[in-house]
Subunit: 453 residues, 2 copies
């Protein structure tokens, strides 16, 4: 890369007691038990703003993890993403308590009707002064389908069919329904808006029929910044058409090819390669010396709840990991061919096939970059040099990870040109992309605007 190129920084969180910490909510200094307290979350958001972070990203689930031992009990006992509160309720408060931090809301397409969802997002974008992103989720736990009246899980293809229809509705509401200049707010003539510039959308789709018009006037960004995780090929196609930020958890060594594939998907949809930012997952344990960092990482790993780890990866890999004996050798598990393809894929990443499953899964759950601030910055620089645009960073313990960032990592990253110093003016989209508040005109959302033709 030529010259310094700062990355985008996103804090990966969820409105839960325990996200990816696997039980470390019980450690001294953790405030994660304060889940229902606004003050705790405001402190997190303000620390992230002090750390010059771009985003606070809220993951979400709509059912407990219940594959491990065929029950949700272990998830509940260890607080593994249950309770999980509604992040859409928290974000407006955190936006009020901050000035520049952006907020990404995860919401899957089964959860709410697009007409009501579009209003929620427009309102959130207005109240925050245009600092909102939406992480579009098309997949979900089977339990979510059972709780939301969809019975089991629809097929992958049906989910993406629904996704296309859903985004079409919300794009029309956000971009097409109220023209630029529709709101005149003319006190003298007692005229608020020009009805000739406010349109119904008259959407008739395979899943949704929505007349409109949109209930709210345009928000600062109209369409929020669009996030998506990229996984399956159908998913990459959808993401290439729609997403502005794609995040995934690929290996650094093979990242360049994945990045190329994702940018190519955007290009294939008639968009520019630069219209998509690619984020990698990144976690760290920091110490003033390498030895201290290693000790802290070891202590954290030892204090984790093994049950909590097994609950989560059972959910991620779609199987009950209690079927893998803790003392079984990885080589034997692979040879026996038991478990789902996702589990086998993970097992093959083991550095040593003679490890026991317990040793492997504890290692797998703790692939952090461990070291001094300089060493962590070195690793971030390596990520930048393979072409990544941003990092999505979970906490090890909250708010400890955020304090470490603000106190030790941010000043160094800024000195080394790996992080911008200060925020750009304007909406989240302007801050991230350095151009206007709206999507580029090549994006399908913008192409819904009949009045702009």
């Amino acid at each position: 890369m030529s010259g310094p190129r700062p990355l985008i920084y996103s804090a990966f969180n969820e409105f839960v007691v325990s996200h990816h910490d696997h039980g470390l909510w019980n450690q001294p200094g953790s405030r994660q038990l304060e889940i229902g307290s606004v003050d705790y979350w405001v402190d997190v958001a303000r620390t992230l703003e002090r750390a010059n972070f771009d985003l606070l990203f809220f993951a979400d689930v709509l059912a407990p993890y219940d594959l491990y031992r065929g029950s949700r009990d272990a998830a509940i006992a260890s607080a593994m993403q249950i309770p999980v509160n509604d992040p859409a309720q928290l974000i407006p408060v955190l936006a009020y308590a901050t000035e520049n931090l952006g907020f990404a809301l995860t919401q899957n397409l089964l959860q709410e009707h697009p007409y009501a969802f579009a209003r929620k997002m427009s309102t959130m974008d207005q109240l925050s002064g245009g600092r909102i992103a939406w992480n579009i989720v098309t997949s979900f736990l089977p339990g979510a389908g059972r709780n939301l009246g969809f019975g089991g899980l629809p097929t992958h293809e049906e989910r993406y069919g629904r996704a296309d229809d859903f985004v079409d509705v919300v794009y029309k509401l956000w971009e097409d329904s109220w023209e630029d200049g529709a709101v005149v707010a003319d006190r003298g003539r007692q005229r608020y808006a020009d009805p000739a510039k406010v349109h119904t959308i008259d959407h008739v789709g395979p899943y949704y029929d929505v007349v409109g018009p949109h209930l709210t006037a345009p928000s600062p960004q109209r369409t929020p910044v669009l996030f998506q995780a990229a996984a399956s090929s159908v998913g990459i196609d959808f993401a290439g058409r729609n997403a502005e930020i794609l995040f995934t958890s690929f290996e650094r060594q093979s990242a360049a090819a994945s990045i190329e594939q994702l940018r190519g998907a955007a290009e294939a949809s008639g968009r520019s390669r630069d219209d998509v930012k690619i984020f990698a997952a990144f976690s760290f344990v920091l110490g003033s010396t390498e030895a201290e960092a290693q000790r802290l990482a070891r202590e954290a790993a030892d204090a984790q709840s093994l049950e909590s780890i097994l609950v989560k990866y059972s959910g991620f890999w779609g199987m009950d990991l209690d079927l893998f004996p803790l003392d079984a050798r990885i080589a034997d598990l692979l040879e026996a061919g038991r478990g789902t393809p996702a589990a086998a894929y993970a097992l093959r990443t083991a550095p040593d096939a003679s490890w026991s499953f317990e040793r492997f899964i504890r290692w797998f759950a703790n692939q952090h970059t461990v070291g001094t601030p300089e060493q962590i910055a070195d690793e971030i620089e390596r990520w930048r040099d393979v072409g990544i645009d941003g990092l999505n960073i979970p906490y090890i313990i909250s708010p400890g990870t955020y304090d470490d960032l603000a106190d030790h990592l941010t000043p160094l990253l800024q000195r080394r040109g790996l992080m911008a110093s200060g925020y750009r003016e304007g909406t989240l989209r302007e801050k991230l992309f350095g151009r206007g508040p709206y999507l580029p005109d090549t994006h399908p959302a913008r192409r819904t605007r009949r009045w702009a033709r």
Copy 2:
């Protein structure tokens, strides 16, 4: 009544530019155009807290009024309840910015699936420290049905069938799913909750199938305080079973009988007469002298948008009021028998049947109590003496009405024992009813608790 009995005070608002002011958003001093600004709304909430108000009540609609001249155009031009932002986004911020004020969210039963709705409300109740009420709405504008995928408007009976099923789901999630004491938050044993005390609800109903468990731990009130408007007989039956606060806009002269009917509906459902508080609508224009108040009321009425009034009452009465010539005599309109029963009912309240329709509708839209603070307090005392428990008070101009309240009316109401001085401790339910944070055990929500039997 024996001795002083303070009333409950609710400010009736909506997340709009124009609620019941009919165009007065254009007047000097109005900040209603600042609809998207958090700071404006925070000022409103803090003024209400300074005025010792119990509640800020947000009405809501999910479609524009579109009966007047068969079009939504006049509604959009005059900002009559469109744009209408999502009040569920605003309430968490206002709760954060206040300490004691309660917040009532209007949400109709078509808008969101009960599983997601229950989580939203539990989160809101947690973040606010238990200061949330839900105004249960079973009816809505036909346009809302068309925007939310229900086609036209379901029948009245079907709406109440759905309402019974919907509240059954959310009651089970709020009250039955997580037992008292389920959350142990035991750091030493790294145990967050006792899985034996967290239950699925396994609800199978005519409209909703929901497995559960609830995604959130119990909030301070579990079930939010339950509001309902009482109108039809099916509605009164439903409200008698469910509502803790019933509001309506009856005439003071006939209020005692209506109050008796509503309390009777609660009793018929096995609840106590005192489990239901009855609110009346009340609006006022205040001056330092009666002459000044009359002048202000006249100026406000003259400045109103007639079109905005006609838009609103066309929606309320279910007809296009453009069919009534503005110069037609009320007596002639009644004799011709044109218009809906709701319109005819309203026309019959005209003080003089020789009035023109324009004179009548302007009067109908402005039935405020006009006078000095003492005169307004006198009228409030008369309301108290017919047995009312609370008042629901719209603004004439915002924030002017709220400043008048805080500066001129509240101190007087408190001196005369018509308003409490200061807030009770605890949740909204504790503040309003002076007993525990939860519903009484006779309420159907509490009777869902299998674990309490």
